[in-house]
Subunit: 401 residues, 2 copies
């Protein structure tokens, strides 16, 4: 498919080939197992073309034949599936208190999922880079041990990330102007694959877009539920990052002019009134999880002050959600992070409030749901980002190994 947008770059045959390879690859991903004839019939490509494309994909070991159909009229079809085995995509997530690493194969199957503690709040950027590089190296060597070629690494960082992958500022980590992508590439000795750095909410929404129950939905907004609140925005099927990469910073939009002070110095910011910090006064990040569990316990027990607080936070969250629904009209707003365990109590209030504040009827067709991807969503999104670049036509070819 050629959408031929602004870019001055002209098209040629390789583009056609790449586009069609990607079409076939996506079809196999979505409809595996399927035959060449299925692909031809559904995509409109000629049978001969499909055969050629599939042969190419098999050469690159992106696709594999798995056997023949039986008990059907006519010649049996050779079925095709995505071949996950020779490649791996790696996602990392840096957080205040832990690092998460996820690797998936081409089909999206999770190959590993590691979590290790990490002194994000106290480590210097240089120390952090070496810790991250060490973890990445271990993941990479695990992948190469399994004879997998690494397609790329994407790192999720909670903060403002420039388009080139520099961390402009990450308040929770105390970072300013850290060229994480460059430093990491240096520390890894210039590996043969790209290293990307991206905002955590942006990667989390990519994870939802690829792996979540609303996968494929063209317009999605993801809200991170941590001490900070950030948004990842997918519109028309692609992540939208704005002019400098700073989109999605909904956490410091003012929700309540009379609200509490925010750590940013302003008052009544979304994250001050509806961030997880509302439930957790402690500053030690290690205490957040038990504190949230305690809130859940009290809410289940019907503790009135807890339920009132949850309802208020839900309403304030709904005000923030209404901003997104009014301005962007997505098909869904997905709540992530610590909002997930609290969702049974937050969602009704948030949905009601957002509904009342959205000018389009019925939230403009938007549903508000809790994420089902669990804590490593941003890391998983990093892996999704790498897979996205494959899906959009940048197909890998096997190195001599």
């Amino acid at each position: 498919m050629i959408t031929s947008s602004a870019g001055p770059r002209p098209a040629d045959f390789t583009d056609v080939r790449a586009a069609n390879l990607a079409v076939v690859l996506r079809f196999v991903r979505d409809n595996a197992p399927c035959s060449r004839a299925d692909i031809a019939a559904s995509t409109g490509l000629n049978k001969a073309t499909v055969s050629s494309l599939v042969a190419d994909l098999i050469d690159r070991r992106l696709v594999r034949e798995v056997g023949l159909t039986e008990n059907r009229v006519g010649r049996p079809a050779t079925m095709l599936v995505l071949d996950g085995s020779p490649y791996a995509s790696i996602g990392l997530e840096i957080n205040v208190d832990y690092l998460t690493a996820v690797a998936v194969d081409l089909a999206g199957e999770r190959l590993l999922s590691w979590r290790r503690s990490f002194p994000g709040a106290t480590a210097t950027p240089a120390q952090a880079v070496s810790a991250i590089a060490a973890l990445t190296r271990r993941v990479i060597s695990r992948m190469t041990r399994d004879r997998r070629q690494v397609l790329g690494v994407a790192v999720a960082v909670p903060g403002l990330i420039g388009l080139s992958g520099t961390v402009v500022v990450a308040p929770n980590l105390g970072w300013r102007e850290v060229d994480l992508a460059g430093d990491l590439a240096m520390a890894l000795g210039d590996p043969g694959f790209p290293i990307q750095v991206e905002n955590d909410a942006n990667l989390a929404v990519l994870a939802e877009h690829r792996f979540g129950p609303l996968g494929g939905t063209p317009n999605l907004v993801y809200l991170t539920g941590e001490v900070g609140v950030g948004a990842g925005v997918i519109l028309d099927g692609r992540l939208r990052r704005g002019g400098q990469g700073f989109s999605g910073e909904i956490g410091h939009v003012q929700i309540d002019a009379d609200g509490p002070a925010c750590r940013c110095g302003r008052t009544g910011c979304l994250e001050a009134v509806a961030g997880i910090g509302v439930f957790v006064s402690a500053t030690d990040p290690a205490e957040v999880e038990p504190a949230i569990e305690e809130v859940v316990r009290r809410a289940k027990a019907g503790d009135r002050p807890t339920l009132d607080l949850l309802a208020r936070v839900g309403r304030d969250l709904g005000k923030g959600i209404a901003i997104a629904t009014n301005l962007l009209n997505p098909e869904a707003v997905i709540l992530g992070g610590y909002y997930v365990p609290l969702a049974p109590w937050l969602l009704p209030a948030a949905a009601a409030e957002a509904r009342g504040r959205t000018i389009a009827a019925d939230l403009g067709g938007c549903q508000i749901v809790a994420s089902t991807l669990g804590y490593g969503a941003a890391a998983l999104g990093g892996a999704a980002r790498v897979l996205d670049s494959v899906d959009s036509g940048r197909l890998p070819s096997l190195h001599a190994s």
Copy 2:
């Protein structure tokens, strides 16, 4: 250029051809007059290919040779320019008190610009449709009289417009569920060109993107300054309309919980605190323009209450702008409508307020400016929309006439 996104549609040669024709056409638009050799050098296309593409464009009369260069070493180049003469693109704008019609040629030259009064607030949709159709017919016959082929018509309507072009609700016009695109096509007797209906802010931002001083900027937000306030959002070079087409409804985001009641029933909406209604208590739309002129006069005279009011509205507007800069990080926010004459007083306060409320430094690189396109911006945007479809590869060919 092939971006090969979600669509299952495969690519073939016609796509390559269309993409490259569009590349050449855009290049000629931006660099006219230029030679075939210039095009080849700048786009990377082969000289032979450029010759073939240009011949095709000349056949379609989209491009024209205008003469030879002189006084230069080497063979003189035949210069190419966009040939505006055989085509026209029409934009219409429906407002409470007037209709605007604009026609432009392929190069963006304005061919006509009409404005006629229109009882939008009182007319029934059927009456409105016939009035609009009558105006459109006059524009079309004027174009055909000039031997121009009409490429399309796009109509700007202040309200929620579904993706299919139905007016879901237009409060100022009192419309609900009007299939304007269909009715208009019917009234015009199924002409051979597409008729589109779109939100006025969405079309206005397209006008800015194509004709404004910030033309080509990939991320733009436009704010209409009427009694209602709406936003048009361009991200990554294209209009983003959301899941149902209802994006940009920033007018009813709450800015001040203690603010005045809004006509939507809520309180403190952006359009209640920073809409033009703040300056104009009258309900008759014909009184708006003189009222704004009076405000300008008083502000120029240094009238303290007026200046204070302008400063307050500017600050509230800045709060709304900060929502956009935080969430979308555009390169620019453009103020339109009646904000334009008031801009000298509104802009400083709005910029200062937005700057203080945007988490990214320096507004995330965003500039806040007043539109320079004048009142017919949305109508002009309608024409821009039609031209956009040409630029993205849907090239017209001359009918037998």
